[in-house]
């Protein structure tokens, strides 16, 4: 079995060889390691993408807005992902973003996952039939993912999920009530000796 350390080192070197800078190649190494750790097909996608761009290196993204369209044929998932990660705190106010025509969209995912951790917010990513819930870079819940490489997505939707509970107030109340059964009733004498008791606070 290839180890995660080998995956990181080799993908970093391969990315540099494919024309990315060392700094970006370092990001790619970490990202592919992360995808593979989460059980997603990082190596397959990267390998195909690097082959694709060998003759013509992709254009770098110049800015990120709510709706992103490129005059070029398609967005590079690496440059888009890195730029997204670098400005994620600023992008949060947009609540959701769209990237049209993204090459190998799965490769964008680990950057958004790291952004989720930096922002302390869950992020929902959808393209074609696949959807991914990114949980603070701790886990990725995925639905309908392609096991093989997916060469392009017409639209990649990114939605920042507000920090809110996934349960009703009633659920919480019931559970809390049950937890109270671990508490002990305090006697009057104990109450008199507890911190702050017996003295006026107006001293």
């Amino acid at each position: 079995m290839i180890t995660f350390s080998e995956i990181e080192t080799t993908t970093k070197r391969a990315s540099k060889a494919a024309g990315f800078s060392w700094g970006v190649a370092e990001e790619i190494g970490k990202s592919i390691r992360s995808l593979e750790l989460f059980g997603l097909p990082g190596i397959i996608n990267l390998n195909q993408y690097l082959k694709k761009i060998k003759k013509k290196h992709p254009t770098k993204i110049t800015k990120i807005e709510k709706e992103n369209k490129t005059a070029d044929k398609e967005f590079c998932p690496i440059y888009s992902g890195v730029a997204f990660l670098d400005r994620c705190l600023e992008l949060e106010k947009l609540k959701s973003l769209k990237f049209y025509n993204v090459s190998y969209p799965l490769l964008m995912l680990p950057f958004i996952s790291r952004a989720s951790e930096i922002m302390s917010k869950k992020i929902l990513v959808q393209f074609d039939n696949s959807s991914f819930l990114l949980n603070f870079d701790k886990s990725i819940f995925s639905k309908n993912i392609e096991k093989q490489a997916q060469s392009q997505a017409k639209v990649v939707n990114i939605e920042f999920i507000e920090n809110k509970n996934s349960f009703s107030e009633q659920d919480w109340k019931e559970l809390y009530k049950l937890s109270e059964e671990t508490f002990v009733d305090e006697s009057d004498s104990l109450k008199k000796t507890a911190a702050g008791a017996g003295l006026t606070d107006n001293d």
Partner: protein, 556 residues
């Protein structure tokens, strides 16, 4: 005396290569902390199936609380002209692997097919470290012959070499299929850096003793004697180390910080002790006296190293006179007085020697630092893109003061480049103006790239965000990341030019090896050296009763 204002030493001085290349082993060293951690583990020789010439399989283990680690040794015959310490070698006298648990016969069979092949073999997640070693044939044969004739070997010859075997590489952490670090990083006993690699080398040493005894006995069963334990104890394991280690300290900035910071914190706390007890001072002086035998038996043909050793020897004479004449425990903040005198009067080689010695009496200061010498590097990887260029500029001006003054337009400032060799995938350094391949340079020219970043930033709108800057300057992304790391970890960066004409790569190796606990640095060129590990260390059956100053017992 009023309380002196003692600060951590300035990273701009400590992190110079000449200073880092003067570091010595100390209580913080990994092989010493390995022995402290594993001394109460159950040591066992599980399998010893060698033929009369010492070829075959052996297994050694450490066990405690249902956790065990095993060294599996594969010894084979090799033709003398196949024996080479160079990394390009393909055969070794013995190959070793550290296995997680006790290996099954199936594991041993699998590993027998792979471990002797080293880099071209494949290990599994059940293996933790991989190594190989060659006999020091001159010493090995002499020891076997002497023992088989019922005599102990010539101590003078052994003292000159110091070991029976020399390792030429020790691999860990995910290389060649070995377990990734994350699989084991939460085990308390291996939390210290390189602890498993240290375990492997320690057990290899035991194998070398068992092997010579075994061969001698088979050679002359009626007459052979066992190697005297006092002699064995003074033998370590040699190691030939090349440039592979150098990029490591550049590629792991937060880890480098943790190592150096621990040393600096220990020094600061020791200098801040107001009253030094008689017991502590005597302990220090005893270690100092004993340690000087290591200096006296430190042999090398390297002019560079001999100059350093001679400077150390003459400085130690001065220092001993100072200690005897001018130092008393009646002096408040005695260690600080000593340190200030040392820094003013002695050379770097001796300053760092005394710093290591000053730690000896202080388990209570050093021990808590040991577990803080690893790093969760992932946590510091992301670049804070929202920060302003003005902030980045301030960091560069404060943390890279001397680097940004270097003129990289001068030919000598960019004389070298680092690359990965195609033959063996190992780091190498070459002259940029004479050799080909500089276009495939590794990102290890940190000083040059930091300077380039600084010059670009001077021309950039200071209110721009780092994220915006990186959109157009991603060629500098690797050093932007480092700048934000050094902002939090001041000892994370070598404050020197690692591609300059005057670079001594062995300074980088020595820094790392001193933290390993290696002694007797013996440079064979400016690019590789030999060292000794575990000389003087307790033998396996003595571990439980060993004390931490064993390193000074060597040759005493």
């Amino acid at each position: 005396m009023s309380k002196p204002n003692i600060k951590l030493r300035d990273p701009n001085e400590v992190m110079k290569l000449s200073r880092l290349g003067s570091f010595h082993q100390s209580k913080l060293s990994f092989l010493r902390s390995f022995i402290r951690e594993f001394k109460d583990w159950e040591y066992k020789r599980n399998i010893f199936e060698l033929d009369k010439d010492g070829y075959g399989v052996a297994v050694y283990s450490f066990e405690k609380n249902k956790r065990s680690y095993s060294l599996i040794c594969f010894a084979q015959y090799i033709n003398p002209n196949e024996r080479s310490d160079r990394v390009i070698a393909t055969k070794w006298d013995t190959a070793f692997v550290l296995h997680d648990g006790i290996p099954t016969q199936e594991d041993i069979n699998r590993l027998k097919e792979n471990v002797p092949k080293q880099e071209i073999g494949r290990m599994s997640y059940k293996e933790l470290a991989l190594s190989r070693a060659n006999k020091s044939v001159r010493v090995f044969d002499h020891v076997v012959n002497s023992l088989s004739e019922g005599k102990q070997p010539d101590k003078n010859l052994l003292n000159k070499v110091g070991y029976l075997y020399r390792t030429t590489a020790v691999y860990g952490s995910g290389k060649f299929g070995l377990a990734d670090r994350f699989r084991i990083k939460n085990r308390k006993e291996v939390y210290g850096p390189f602890r498993l690699e240290m375990m492997l080398v320690y057990l290899v040493r035991q194998f070398t003793f068992d092997q010579v005894n075994h061969i001698a006995k088979n050679k002359n069963p009626g007459k052979a004697v066992q190697l005297d334990e006092n002699i064995a104890r003074n033998l370590g394991i040699g190691n030939s180390t090349g440039l592979g280690m150098a990029p490591f300290i550049v590629n792991h900035p937060t880890l480098l910080h943790k190592w150096i910071y621990s040393r600096e914190k220990a020094l600061k706390e020791i200098r801040s002790i107001e009253v030094v007890s008689n017991e502590e001072f005597i302990f220090f002086k005893n270690c100092l006296t004993k340690s000087q035998s290591i200096v006296d038996t430190w042999l090398t043909e390297s002019e560079y190293q001999n100059k350093k050793i001679n400077s150390l020897k003459s400085d130690l004479i001065k220092f001993n006179q100072f200690i005897e004449k001018d130092c008393s425990i009646k002096v408040k903040y005695l260690w600080n007085t000593i340190y200030l005198w040392v820094e003013k009067n002695l050379n770097e080689e001796c300053v760092e020697y005394i710093v290591s010695m000053m730690m000896e009496p202080y388990d209570k200061i050093v021990d808590p630092l040991i577990n803080n010498m690893s790093s969760e590097e992932e946590q510091y990887f992301s670049i804070p893109g929202h920060r302003k260029i003005s902030e980045l500029k301030k960091i560069l001006e404060k943390k890279y003061q001397s680097i940004i003054k270097i003129n990289f337009k001068e030919k000598n400032s960019i004389a070298n480049f680092w690359f990965i060799s195609k033959n063996k995938e190992e780091p190498r350094v070459a002259n940029r103006h004479e050799e080909q391949g500089a276009e495939l340079e590794q990102p290890l020219a940190i000083a040059r790239d930091i300077k380039q970043l600084y010059e670009k930033i001077l021309k950039t709108n200071q209110s721009e965000t780092v994220a915006d800057f990186l959109l157009n300057n991603d060629d500098l992304r690797h050093v932007v990341r480092r700048a934000f790391i050094i902002d939090q970890f001041p000892y994370s960066e070598i404050q020197d030019n690692t591609i300059g004409a005057s670079l001594m790569p062995i300074d980088m190796l020595r820094l790392k090896l001193s933290f390993f606990g290696a002694v007797k640095f013996d440079p064979r060129s400016d690019k590789w050296l030999r060292i000794n590990m575990y000389q003087g260390a307790p033998l396996s059956h003595e571990l439980k009763n060993s004390d931490d100053t064993w390193i000074y017992n060597s040759l005493n």
